[in-house]
Point group: C2
Chain length 445, copies 2
Amino acid sequence: MSKYKGRTRELLKSISAGVGDKIRVNKGDQTFEGLLMPRTERGVPDHIVLKLDSGYNIGIEVTENTEIEKLKEGKEPELGKKGQEIEPDPEKPDVTIIGTGGTVASRIDYRTGAVHPEFSASEIYSSAPEIAEIANINTITACNVLSENMTPKLWTEIANEVAEELNEGADGVVIAHGTDIMGYTASALSFILKNLTKPVVLVGSQRSSDRPSSDAALNLVGAISAATSDLAEVCVAMHGSIEDEFSLIHRGTKVRKCHTSRRDAFQSINIHPLGRASKSGVEFFQSRKRREEGEVEVEGGFEERVALAKISPNMQSDIIEGMLDKNYRGIVLEGTGLGHVPKSVYSGIENAIEQGIPVAMTSQCIWGRTNMRVYSTGRDLLDIGVFPLEDMLPETAYVKMMWVLDRTQDMEEVKHLMRKNLAGEISPRSEADIFLKPNLPEDKQ
Amino acid sequence: MSKYKGRTRELLKSISAGVGDKIRVNKGDQTFEGLLMPRTERGVPDHIVLKLDSGYNIGIEVTENTEIEKLKEGKEPELGKKGQEIEPDPEKPDVTIIGTGGTVASRIDYRTGAVHPEFSASEIYSSAPEIAEIANINTITACNVLSENMTPKLWTEIANEVAEELNEGADGVVIAHGTDIMGYTASALSFILKNLTKPVVLVGSQRSSDRPSSDAALNLVGAISAATSDLAEVCVAMHGSIEDEFSLIHRGTKVRKCHTSRRDAFQSINIHPLGRASKSGVEFFQSRKRREEGEVEVEGGFEERVALAKISPNMQSDIIEGMLDKNYRGIVLEGTGLGHVPKSVYSGIENAIEQGIPVAMTSQCIWGRTNMRVYSTGRDLLDIGVFPLEDMLPETAYVKMMWVLDRTQDMEEVKHLMRKNLAGEISPRSEADIFLKPNLPEDKQ
């Protein structure tokens, strides 16, 4: 009965339902059908956890009017025993899941690794048995921090683990990561991992794993699919819609968490997603780097004294001066529109550049491309020495400048590298059709 | 022939076409039909400017293979003579257009007022004759600055002009504003203008007016429509799609410029747009404050020492310390996810709060809502004294904190006012369907 307790346990017992059986749950107007899953360890009491046909695990509260019915005898997934060694299937690709601070699978935890810092392949199989059909899973832990406490040093450590796994024969790597700064880490790995010949897929969960409903398993299935595909880039694979049909695969330097809580929070900005993934495989939409032979190399190291400054009206130069006082070595501006700042920030920027601090321009619009030649004030900033970063995301620019400044401090070389497309962070041209659609009410669309 | 020169003038002369005539222009595979408009003053040479049925003015380059044909005799709009006094029509509502640094209409200039700081109602009618059918137009200039150089002092001055116009009988006000920081100004006016009983509509142009193709006229028509509607809020009315069908009306505190260059750059975040407007009128989707009787009041004044700090991984406390060193009096954080920051920023935040500086939390996701009770680190920040701002946009929070700190410095009172919905900046609950849709390639949707 896999950890079910109290009222729920009695109810399941009354129809002799066990984990793996297909059951139907009626609750007033609502009916759910799916495979009975083990109760999540820190689950809310009196919930039944079902795996729906979509692959999504939901928790249904058991109340007085809950009725259940056994539709089909199943069997508890063989692979679900904790600590059990699983024989690899030589026909299947090998994927390593690297933990960074969350437990994976039954809970790719949203951001904390505090409760379950360890995880095993068998635990993963038990909550997402589908992945056994896709790949042989190996698991390692690279670090154990909350997502927002990720650091440049850890980025290099994770990259080392990735390279080691891929060079020792893994066909792909999945990195379980908290969602808050997943985009920043994906960017960092995109710059560090050189001569990448296989897929590196970041995945997480938008729903805390201690709730019975979690997108963790479904996201993991998409990520494993992506990690066995012919992609040779760092990418993020997360829920593509709230309908649980597929994960979208986003290029690591072009992805952003755009919603605090929705499962489909991750979106490609300024390019189409690379493709979509589900348990039945991967479909690509975009040109991409393909899987090939060759050793992956790590070119780690970051100058940590880089600041990201969002421009606002009435912003004063002293914000920039404050950064200079504190010895920041590089500044990324999130300007307005095509790449503008108020006149009141000019002197701070001039001081920075006079001190040899590179100042780069991105746009807080997020979509579109900087263009500082359209208006005279843009040209003024170019004359001062600010350099625009085309359609690069501010977050990606921040990470890239840390990485570039660790390679060179020569201002011209920094500009050159920052403005050069190294890992898909700059699109050669902007596609006019790439933008969000206005959220009109459903009956007005 | 209204300023047409050279080859274009000859071509138009050959078919005796004058301004107001309906003509067809053939250029290889492409055909355009519309009313011949006067050449824009700073227009590129050898272009014909046509007003399409959609209301959008386009410029068509005249080359050797350009053929034109007169479809229907028209007449030059009577209202189009510069400097001519126009008799108000007592049947029509009165709308005042307030200039802030761009010329309006033939060019609601994107951001510069340098070339044409003056504008007259007749000039406006001449490039958008449709608006004469909607309202009697009066024009005044409140200030003359580039959009990004807008200041809190100017916000109060603009509000004073708005109140004066409305209290003296205007049925609505349209404010022509550069697009870069239009959202910030719309927020500011939303807080300053108290007991607003009529519509206040910000409008601009995403296309520089010195190009023959400009969205200025079409946007202005939508704005005038909105300004004669029964709305009694500050709003932004801008292109709703690239198809030129209508403008969307966005609540002033919930709107953001989301693209550097597209005409439909402005989007409502976390709520549906209030409605849509075209020359045929306004359709509302949302509950809203309605037009009523009563004097509009101005409650201006801003504490200018407020900083907006975007959180990034590896951000250090010294960024916040720098703000304290420079005597900032309030800080708005753009946190990650539900409202988090790295541990390395905690001490800076603690110092700020110990010094009596309010620190508020928004999310860089933009969509969704802060929730600092889900994870222990969010709760830690709450314990330190950071207060979350629900689904408020970071830009709106920045403006609001400036306004609130000018009213009170009492920390509890500041928190209370910041977390209270004053002008639609906080939605009581988040609608699950309000989010962008993934930009899949057209054949994959």
